[in-house]
Amino acid sequence: MTPSCETPRRRRTVRAGWRTAALWVAGAAFALGTQAAAQQLRLPPDLVYGNADASPGKVVFSHQFHVGVSDKCTACHVKLFHLLRPTRRVTHSEMEAGKSCGACHNGQMAFGPTDPAGCTRCHAGEGKSS
């Protein structure tokens, strides 16, 4: 190979390298940006469900996690949950019929109550929120 052939190829590799680096930087900046944006949100603290005797473990609902699912608070509020006052807790069978969390956690929009991964997917206990 003559040097005249090598030069453009090397230039191309260098350019590709730069492009990859730029993508990484942009990606990192975007991730940091979204993280910063998410941290700026003044969200309610995690909600703990699971006072029933037969409960296999407490369910901890995280607003922090769920704002990543939809960018509109109105996806759940106010038709499913109040914003200004506590919402009446429903039973597990009511939830399975599509109330409360069950409006999305029905096995189609999101994993449902009969998920093969088992009860612990929601009933993870306190300290583990999702």
Binding site: L41, R42, D71, K72, C73, T74, K79, L83, L84
Partner: protein, 252 residues
Amino acid sequence: MKGAILFDSTKCVGCEACVGACKEANNLPTAIDPKLTAYTWTVVEQRNKAYVRRMCMHCETPTCVSVCPVQAFRKEANGPVVYDASRCIGCRYCIMACPFGAPKYQWDRAVPIVQKCIMCAGRIQAGKEPACASVCPTGATTFGDRTQLIGEARARLAAAPKSYVPKIYGLEEVGGTSVLMLSSVPFSSLGLRTDLPMAPLPMLTWQVLSKIPDFVAVGGAFLYGIWWITNRRAKVQEALAQEAASQAAAKH
């Protein structure tokens, strides 16, 4: 304290928590209309890559209050423009008069009333913030004293002049509003009216109405003067004719 709402478009992420909270606080149907209706008192619109809230601007000198023939609208001393449905006769003059298109009519009801944002007057009375301000997760909608919020808005403009259009919308528009807005893009591109006069709109009516007593008095005097002159002429004519007749009778 004169309550006011400061909406900072640069902080709004369009989550619509304000819309949801408004629905809940005012017992409105949960379905969200894309534009303001009698059942959706505030909406978040995305325009020019920015989010902007639509709601009643709670004018300092409200046109709706001015035009209402039965005083169904009232401007409270602590900020909100409230509405008394029991007085409303459904003439909808307020809907025509409002420069911001805030009052909306219940077109689907047999006995409709007008509805609009009331700045959660009941909550303010109870010492709470309006529902929208209380739930906003970014601080885009904040509630406070109008004078203090103007100071806050000026401080934000001074601290980050590059991220804002150098203007507080609602500071002077139609004589000032109790909803103030900040934006990074021109307000006209957010769909907000920038052709509004800086004087209160009811002044337009007052400019005409205040001249009516003078007009009536001067006009009345003028018409009386014309009547006096024509009447005198007629009397003179009559007297002359009588004189001529009596002279003619004396000659014979």
